[in-house]
Symmetry: C2
Subunit: 269 residues, 2 copies
């Protein structure tokens, strides 16, 4: 936009993954979003980039491999997802979690005591979700004097190619309704989780832009932490986002367009 050359420096990019780099398809690798691979290559060459995702179903290794199979050259060590952050939080706070999570992320919890749980960690929706599993989590929480639920993200829905899907935030609301548990989200939009991205980039929030498809979690969350938030019109983006109470610093049709616009402006926004 006009006058943008008066903007502030952009020294680093945090990119959401699902809905920004690729669109997910149930039980398949999904499909790359046009030119996201080029945008990622460009950022690796000309700026600094890390990937801050709420993806809760796969290890960072498998997230990176999937993207590589789609032709998007993301390095495993640059991927941030909630599961290892939650595991580290449990270690530091001597928590014994009941794990309501996907098998693929269990490795992060190796060595953590899960006997007589004093919290529930939830990151499962889709194939491993069942009444029995949420009920097991419920029974553990209802018996605690101060029930604590740690959730990997707190989203209302995620987007698959076949349509929107109810997300873990809804089931956190369900468990809170029935047990009055405290809900601690370790995922966007929590400040604690955005700090993982800032630390990985080694930058202050005002140097960073976050690019995402979720207006509240990505854009609003980043802005609350002092970063700039960029909305892309891919993934879960819906026209009614533009009536909502968060105003992105930039809205672009896709990641590539956002990156090109900022680069053409001398990495200022």
């Amino acid at each position: 936009p006009k006058g943008m050359s008066n903007g502030r420096a952009v020294n680093g990019f945090l990119l959401d993954i699902t809905g920004v780099l690729y669109n997910s398809i149930y039980k398949s690798d999904g499909v790359a979003i046009a030119k996201s691979a080029e945008a990622v290559d460009f950022l690796y060459q000309h700026s600094k980039v890390k990937f801050l995702s709420n993806a809760k179903g796969n290890s960072n290794r498998n997230v990176a491999r999937r993207l590589q199979r789609l032709g998007i050259n993301v390095r495993e060590e640059d991927v941030i997802t909630p599961a290892p952050v939650v595991a580290q939080y449990c270690r530091e706070n001597k928590l014994r979690p009941h794990l309501f999570v996907r098998d693929d992320v269990l490795e992060y919890f190796d060595g953590i005591d899960t006997s007589s749980p004093n919290c529930v960690v939830m990151g499962e929706v889709e194939e491993g979700f069942s009444f029995d599993r949420i009920n097991r989590a419920f029974r553990i929480l209802i018996d605690m004097p101060k029930p604590l639920l740690i959730t990997m993200g707190n989203g209302k829905f995620f987007q698959r190619v076949d349509g929107p899907c109810i997300d873990v935030g809804a089931f956190a609301a369900a468990l809170k309704f029935s047990t009055n548990c405290e809900v601690l989200n370790i995922g966007k939009p929590s400040r604690f989780y955005f700090e993982q991205g800032m630390n990985a980039l080694g930058m202050k929030p005002e140097e960073i832009v976050m690019v995402g498809d979720d207006l509240m979690s990505d854009v609003g969350g980043a802005q609350t932490c002092g970063m700039r938030g960029i909305q892309v019109r891919t993934g879960k983006w819906r026209p009614d986002f533009e009536k909502m109470p968060v105003t992105p610093d930039l809205t672009a049709d896709c990641l590539y367009d956002a990156v090109k616009l900022i680069a053409d402006n001398g990495f200022r926004l």
Copy 2:
């Protein structure tokens, strides 16, 4: 209790079923609660009685048959459950529901147009509950300009012999979180639903006592409607109920004790 002979007349009884007459066991008939059969026989002989349940998994016929198999002689025509009341509500309000309910209650919705739904009716937990089914309900609600969810009861949990189980109120909270839908509960503690019980007895609320194991839905709900609410220490009763902000008009160890106490007092409380 002392001085109770100064109480008001009790002309009719509304009894909750699960946790008051019997305790439920997953995929079986459950077990009768001691002396509930005698209490029911006594009320049929000496007073008026109807059964106001939030049971959402079975038709009234099958609810009555199950009780009869347990030796509790409840007549089908005296059983009130949400499903037929919801169906009637849909007919009167020209609603086209998406049915997220058990097969056994589908018969009540015969003849109701369910194409291009303009609301969701939810009464399914346990065996038919799945991510796909709640997600189908979510997708219908998220696409409505004014999403409406009708729920058969709004409980936090129900009690099975193996332990407490997260109930439909939690999944209503989940759908509300993700779609901002209006939630209309047709089940206790809604006044509309209690009125079904009052109408069946043909009495004013002040003549009636409601006996239940759920402090909020049964006891609190009845009191809000001008009835007296009796808490029994069976079913889902938990000691911490006695610290909660609803004070029953009477607390008894079981239905039989409550009935005997009121009868011995000349049907006054």
